[in-house]
Amino acid sequence: MSSGTRQLHPDENIKLGKLGPHVFRIALTTGVLFLILTLVMGLLAGDDMTRFFFSYLVGFSFFLTLALGALFFSTIQHLVRATWSVVVRRLTEAMMGTLPLMFGLSLVIIIPMLLGHTGLYAWSDLAYAEDNYFVSQKLGYLNVPFFALRIIIYFAVWIAIAHYFLTRSVQQDQTGDTSIAARMRAVSAPAVIAFAITTNWAAYDIWMSLEPEWFSSIFGVYIFAGAMVALFAALILVCMGLQKRGRLTRTITTEHYHDLGKFLFAFVFFWGYIAFSQYMLIWYANIPEETIWYQMRIEGPWMYVTLALLFLHFAFPFTCLLSRHTKRRRSTLAFFCAWLLVMHWIDLYWIILPTYDDGTIPFHLMDITATLGIGGLFVAVAAHLLGRVDLVPTKDPGLGESLEFENY
């Protein structure tokens, strides 16, 4: 029925304008200050920076998953020729534009490892690895130079995809050449495949190898599910923030929020589904080298975090987001987005920190400051990118349909 002829409202504010440099300055200052603060606390901790790296990895993971979620969202919209999402696609394009920054931040983990720091990944300590039969058999894969090479390859692939889709999308704004959309669609298929392979293996390397004895083939999907929850939550909040500041007020409508909310709901469920699928097979097989990962998380105080994830990352938002009213009313939707972002952070914390200490919950102020620091840089780069372009792909052939989009 949609004829797709609707135009952007002539008075619509589609430029970030002064808001761009303003956000950039605040975010950059916050980021740098908090990172310095974290570094100082790390040095003062006197444990050869080990605790610092765990905190840093949590913050790094949070924003890396966000950027990867954005990368996937932006590419798959081309692949499936989605039109409803055109009005929000530029925002995710800016989020995936932070991947070069994330690569720079990953060097903070890789370079000390190359210099011989072994605090974060147990397998990088040869004395430990050769003492442990399972790990010693994996050293052909789990060794520092190969690890560093793989991380560089992942980022090369991600940055290449992000760069391609961001620049082409902006180029189309300027030239109005609709064949660009067709080319992006053709590239999106191999891009999504490359994304799936690299993200899956990156999940094995960055998070699963924290516990080098343990393995779970579904783990990459689990990380992906969490990343998508975080992306939709963040995207909805960014849209609301921009509209509050008078941008895109007539472009993004309740219908778009409703659809983003549906995706948020779907991925909350997908996350729970994957988390359970991983748990059930390990629970049923009951093999020690597989159960160890859960044993660390269900004995002692970590059990509370595990239960919190079950009820607060899954059951509570799932039940509440079931209703369309929750998704169409902005205040409730915003609440669950903020809620799920916090839960995604706790999820990553639950994945990473038991490796540091599975007997207590080793909370440290650095966990917060590292996340805020990396978040500051992330927001600064995204705001900088958005400040130079229109907030919507103005010449996208699907824009008309996106503006007219309605749920039935």
């Binding site: 029925m1 059930m280 629970w283 049923y284 009951n286």
Partner: protein, 420 residues
């Protein structure tokens, strides 16, 4: 879109045509359809409907249709599926026939969540599907509107409103004017067939439905017949590997090298040497063997609650296992003893009185050991009575022995009057 029932009290039409069913109006766009629907709604009609090739957003409020109850039905069915399947797996696995598989608990959520999930979805899905049918009164094989050639466009690019003659305030002229004023490109009257028999389902179709339904009963008839007859053919084995399993049947003779399962003739494996099955360590000498160090225990083990319920349990178990020989009073004259005297059994020795000094002097642990392993002609009862119950019997024995030396002061004051 709901399709209302066809008219009950049809108005007789002009010659040649059947009674009037209603009027049908065509509109060009969904927008015009919505505006016209609002007009018809505001005019107060109740038996009317809109027809469009696809769902039109905003048509429900324009027609004045209340939000459907279907989501609530689906939700309720989902909850019922969830609750029902929880009850099902609990009742089957943990209550009616508890069966431990691979050391997992009889009732465990991780193993059953797929079942709970699937039944929730199944019931919700079935309710959604058939709920739509029921709420829309489907299947409806025929509608008088189908007679209109123009109405064929309703599945392609036509948007229609029909008002039925059965509507209480239906007046043909007024209705046609209303629809035309609302922007209709065409308005036509729809008449039923003059022959009332053709308002019903055509005979051949009805016959086909009835015959199919009857044929559908044939398999059930065979099943019913099989239940009351017998045949000389061996039964069909649909799943031979389930009918003939690799297992040992009860009392099957097992020969070395001929066991269906293991070559040594056994069907289960003995525990690995040097290992103890979970929950069978029995390290506590006091509780399991009645020993404190090398001596018979003189106290009750900590596992035993010394209270009335344990005493009652001991009383009950004593009457089941001990009283047949020792007698309910413990003096040794139980029913078996009486019977032995009756038949003058030459081998029978009178059971020991538990009030004998040799017995009363024995520590708790030694009594426990006697119950477990027997003494002289008394067999051991460790296979029949579990540890806790054996200790409960010892506790009861102590009470029984004490009762033989009771003084008037032992009886509660209010019951003392009954003593003669």
């Amino acid at each position: 879109m709901t399709t209302e029932n066809q008219s009950d009290i049809p108005e007789t039409g002009p010659g040649g045509e059947g009674p009037l069913h209603g009027v049908l109006a065509e509109y060009e766009t969904p927008g015009e359809l919505i505006e016209a629907a609002k007009a018809v709604r505001d005019a107060g009609y109740t038996k009317w409907d809109c027809h469009s090739p696809f769902p039109v957003h905003g048509l429900d409020p324009a027609m004045g249709i209340r939000p459907t109850v279907l989501p609530l039905l689906v939700f309720a069915a989902g909850i019922a599926g969830l609750g029902g399947s929880i009850l099902l797996v609990w009742w089957m696995n943990a209550h009616n026939w508890p069966w431990i598989v691979a050391g997992m608990p009889a009732f465990s959520l991780p193993a059953n969540i797929p079942i709970l999930f699937e039944s929730t979805i199944l019931l919700a899905g079935i309710t959604a599907f058939f709920g739509v049918w029921a709420l829309n009164r489907l299947p409806k094989l025929w509608n008088p509107l189908f007679k209109s050639d123009r109405f064929l466009k309703a599945t392609d690019n036509g948007f229609f409103i029909s008002i039925e003659a059965a509507d209480p305030q239906f007046e043909r002229d007024k209705a046609e004017t209303l629809l035309k004023d609302a922007g209709a490109t065409a308005v036509e009257a729809i008449h039923l067939d003059p022959d009332p028999t053709r308002w019903q389902i055509p005979r051949p179709i009805l016959a086909f439905i009835v015959i199919t339904a009857i044929l559908g009963l044939v398999p059930f008839a065979f099943i019913a017949k099989a239940r009351v007859t017998h045949g000389d053919q061996p039964r069909i084995h649909v799943f031979p590997d389930m009918d003939f399993q690799v297992k040992a049947d009860t009392q099957q003779r097992l020969v070395i090298d001929d066991s269906p399962v293991f070559r040594d003739g056994q069907v289960t494996r003995p525990p690995v040497e040097g290992t103890v099955p979970r929950g069978q360590l029995r390290q506590d000498d006091h509780f399991y063997r009645g020993l404190e160090g090398d001596e018979w225990a003189t106290t009750f083990p900590a596992q035993l609650d010394i209270d009335t319920s344990t005493m009652d349990r001991g009383h009950e178990q004593y009457n089941v296992y001990c009283a047949p020989c020792h007698g309910e009073d413990g003096l040794g004259g139980g029913p078996i003893h009486e019977r032995a005297l009756e038949i003058q059994s030459p081998e029978w020795l009178m059971p020991t009185s538990i009030h004998d000094q040799n017995v009363t002097r024995q520590p708790h642990g030694q009594l426990y050991n006697t119950i477990s392993h027997g003494i002289r002609t008394m067999p051991g009862y460790r296979a029949q009575i579990d540890e806790e119950d054996r200790w409960a019997i010892v506790l009861y024995l102590r009470a029984l022995q004490r009762s033989q030396k009771a003084l008037p002061d032992d009886v509660p004051p209010e019951e003392r009057a009954q003593i003669r």
